[in-house]
Amino acid sequence: MANLKEIKRKIGSVKNTQKTTNAMKLVSSAKLKRTEELAKRSRVYAAKLTELIEEIAQKMKQSNADGIDNIYFKDIENPQKVDIIFITADKGLCGGFNSQTLKRTNQLIAEYKEKGVKVRLRAVGRKGIDFFKFNGIELNNEIIGLSASPDFKKASEFISEVAASYVNGDTDKIILVHNGYVNMITQEIREDQLLPVDTSKLKLDHQSTSELEVEPDDDDTLLDALVKRYIEYTMYYSLIDSLAAEHSARMQAMDAATNNAKDMVKELQVKYNKARQESITTELIEIISGMESMK
């Protein structure tokens, strides 16, 4: 009988877990929809901004024989100091979402260490911070709360600080790693080189048809302002992208958990039925044998 009670208790607890995971899945899917919408709207802005940078960079390239002469565009072949920014979630329970980002970050660190490059880490998101703290690796920045609710102002404050250290010469290269959203069931690790601006990614080969006038009449001022805006926006967009991916990953994880719980309840129910049948049979045998002995 004790066994019966035990199984019944287990069924109850698994059912409760199932309710929780199901609720979490619903919450995530609602949040995902909202974040997706946000990402969709800001994508247009990002595209236009990139277009404009391409145009200006193109113009500067044409007027200058030895490439683009701007601090944000200088090409460093052997960087000595690299900053890696990585975005993880503040919360867990989202499958391999965080560990994938951390794995990639670790890979990058190992790659650069091999080349003798100094690496500084800047963490956004509690899970990433916890991971590196546990492993006793020092972090330059620890930002909590930004990855759960991306905010343009906070994101630009953070990235301006990083960009300033690039201009000072404290770092030669800034890389941003995050787990991006592809669709409801897939996430993909994305790695962006924030600074210097990756000219290989810009479309600079086309010849502009007409002379572009620029106001203020100083290319550098405009380009500086544009690049600053560009990296701020890339940072902000990456946060949104990462959040969307987090929700989709959590949705998947919770969906799987709900299904597993369902299977488990089924299994336990069978076990329970068997045990009940067994106990009834034993009781019957006892009664019958008791009757038999009384004859």
Binding site: K48, E51, E55, S210, L212, E215, T221, Y233
Partner: protein
């Protein structure tokens, strides 16, 4: 009158995308108007008001904090950080006006620039 395409993009999405007659922009070196077939130009935009002459003759004002504009012969694209649009068809014009003023005042531009922009917004608000 020849028309051109005007697009205003903010981080929250596209807020204006239509054919217009003329647009007046608050450039960093001074206000300037753009008609169709304008020479290609890229300019920084300061805190101020974009005034749009729509194809149907109606006027719209958009208060912005800062941004960029790319002018091409057939198309003008404004990339701005924050914008509030005002038009005579707004059901709640006074609320829109308030929002526009708050946006203008929240910028880091000089006091005179903000004051000019605010008074311009008020003027436009009255004209509707």
């Amino acid at each position: 009158m020849e028309l051109m395409k005007l697009e205003i993009v903010t981080p929250d999405g596209v807020i204006f995308d239509a054919e217009v007659k003329q647009v007046t922009l608050p450039g960093s070196e001074g206000e300037f108007g753009v008609l169709a077939n304008h020479a290609t130009l890229v300019s920084l935009l300061d805190t101020g008001v974009i005034v749009i002459d729509k194809a149907d003759g109606k006027e719209i004002a958009v208060a912005i904090n800062s941004g960029y504009v790319k002018v091409e012969e057939e198309k003008t694209t404004c990339i701005v950080d924050g914008a509030v649009s005002l038009s005579a068809e707004d059901s709640d014009l006074s609320a829109a006006l308030e929002a526009a003023k708050t946006l203008l005042k929240s910028t880091e531009a000089s006091n005179t620039a903000i004051a000019t922009a605010v008074s311009k917004v008020e003027q436009i608000g009255k004209s509707f």
